[in-house]
């Protein structure tokens, strides 16, 4: 099992540690619900060092990155980032990622932990210029919650106030260089901090010394992202699903050439067989992965992610169903063994009061 540079810190904090995509990661420190609520109301620090980072050098066209990613790279400013996909020819999602324009001809791709190796294979085949996998050299900490800006201001000064959503800049904290990006996976105002791996422990402890900040594990990360209806790679999206099926078309720039474009256009015209929808339960009972979805007696799909929503105090989930059943407001039943959960198809996000754009 792989460990992050913060593994010893998690043990000191008596975290419950479990396997996530081949990594020993903290699931919770105190309790998932208290960490969830602290993130919604104050500010939490997450170890996300397991995630991968690649650097691509060169012009977006010359490197072929423009064809590898679904985002419009041409009109990105240096200092901005974009969520997008890397697709196969069939339009299936190889990975979802955030691309950072570090310089005119330098890009950083931040990818999922479980997909680093296959992403690297795909990138090596398709990128014509210099490519580096810097995943092991870079540590990533996520500081998320409505107080996160106030906390960071103490360390980096008022420059943090200028950082807009999906933008980043380089800052110095006690002389150490940190890339701070205003992005996250919680629906709250928040930042992702990138530092050399050797600096990870130092930065983690420095930030946690601020009493407004508490550590949060992957358990809360999952309930927070689910309340926002954000997909998790490997669960809600994978190589068998396309951005159209997942309802994530807005992260695809059709006005350019990219791998998978023909397949997506066909799906757009000819229709799709399944569509990802958000489900809200009428009770505290949680839909869970692989539970079946029924409309009256017809089996129409299956759940890909689900949990109890601490903010809404009911079960929530996402799943693929037949597109002819995906009308918002439709009543469905989720079944597994003796369990039957009445639920309604709803819009994302489930949680609408996040401080994301504050």
């Amino acid at each position: 099992m792989k460990i992050t540079p913060l593994y010893e810190e998690h043990k000191k904090l008596k975290a419950k540690i479990d396997n996530f995509a081949g990594w020993s990661m903290p699931i919770q420190y105190s309790s998932i619900i208290s960490e969830h609520n602290w993130t919604r109301n104050a500010c939490s620090l997450f170890d996300t060092c397991h995630m991968g980072e690649f650097i691509v050098y060169g012009d977006s066209k010359e490197s072929n990155l423009d064809k590898v990613l679904t985002a419009n790279l041409e009109d990105m400013d240096v200092g901005s980032s974009r969520y997008c996909f890397m697709l196969n020819e069939a339009g299936g999602i190889i990975d979802d990622l955030v691309v950072y324009r570090l310089a005119q001809e330098k890009w950083m791709l931040v990818v999922n932990a479980g997909t680093i190796e296959k992403d690297e294979r795909h990138l090596k085949e398709n990128i014509y210029t210099n490519l580096e996998n810097i995943s092991a050299d870079i540590a990533k900490l996520d500081l998320q919650g409505p107080s996160s800006r106030d906390v960071l201001r103490k360390f980096v000064g008022e420059g943090i106030d200028k950082l807009r959503y999906y933008h980043f800049d380089h800052f110095f904290i006690l002389g150490k260089k940190v890339l701070i990006s205003r992005t996250g996976y919680t629906g709250e105002l928040g930042y992702e901090l990138y530092i050399d791996s050797e600096g990870a422990q130092w930065l983690w402890n420095l930030i946690l010394n601020d009493k407004r900040v508490r550590p949060a594990g992957l358990g809360a990360r999952d309930t927070l992202r689910l309340e926002m209806g954000y997909p998790l790679y490997g669960q809600d999206i994978n190589e068998e699903t396309s951005p159209i099926e997942a309802g994530l078309e807005r992260f695809v720039e059709f006005k350019k050439a990219f791998i998978g474009r023909e397949a997506l256009l066909k799906q757009r015209e000819g229709g799709i067989k399944k569509r990802l929808v958000c489900l809200i339960a009428n009770s505290r009972r949680a839909p869970r992965k692989n539970y079946k979805i029924y409309a009256e007696e017809d089996e129409i799909g299956f759940v890909t992610s689900g949990t109890f929503s601490p903010s809404l105090s009911c079960g929530i989930g996402m799943g693929y169903i037949r597109p002819d059943y995906c009308k918002i407001g439709s009543k469905i039943t989720i079944k597994e063994g003796k369990v039957e959960i009445d639920a309604t198809i709803t819009n994302r996000p489930f949680y609408k009061k996040g401080s994301l754009r504050n």
Partner: protein, 132 residues
């Protein structure tokens, strides 16, 4: 992992349920170890008053943020009371597993079934074997 609370006087199962026997009645719940392993309990499915339950068979399920777990009957009996408070406040199982977090009371069919259960000191030893 912190030290788990295992009160004397109760009997325990390998699946981490407890029963407190008092005058042919048994109060049943899950142990401190079980609630800690589950994490935040978010939903409890309880049987109905009048239902019969059989020793070591599932009679209820408890959901946490992470998972769903069956709860097994420590002894056979007829349900005479259920803790309705858990419907609204399932977190009582986390906060007070041996007291406010009780799940059901049964009328015990056969007290001889006690011999299949662990005493507090036996259960403590059993836990030591599980917790590394």
């Amino acid at each position: 992992m912190g030290k788990m609370n295992v009160p004397d006087g109760l009997l325990y199962t390998k699946e981490h349920e407890w029963i407190r026997i008092d005058n042919h009645l048994g109060t049943i719940g899950i142990t401190d170890y079980a609630q800690d392993a589950l994490g935040d309990v978010t939903f409890v499915e309880l049987p109905k008053v009048g239902d019969s339950i059989r020793q070591f068979e599932a009679f209820s399920s408890v959901e946490s943020v992470k998972a769903v777990s069956d709860v097994y009957a420590p002894m056979s009996g007829k349900i005479i009371k259920v803790n309705d408070g858990l419907m609204e406040s399932p977190e009582l199982i986390n906060q007070s597993p041996y007291d406010k977090g009780w799940m059901v009371v049964i009328e015990i069919f056969d007290e001889n079934e006690k011999k299949n259960l662990m005493t507090a000191s036996e259960y403590r030893k059993y836990l030591e074997g599980i917790i590394e």
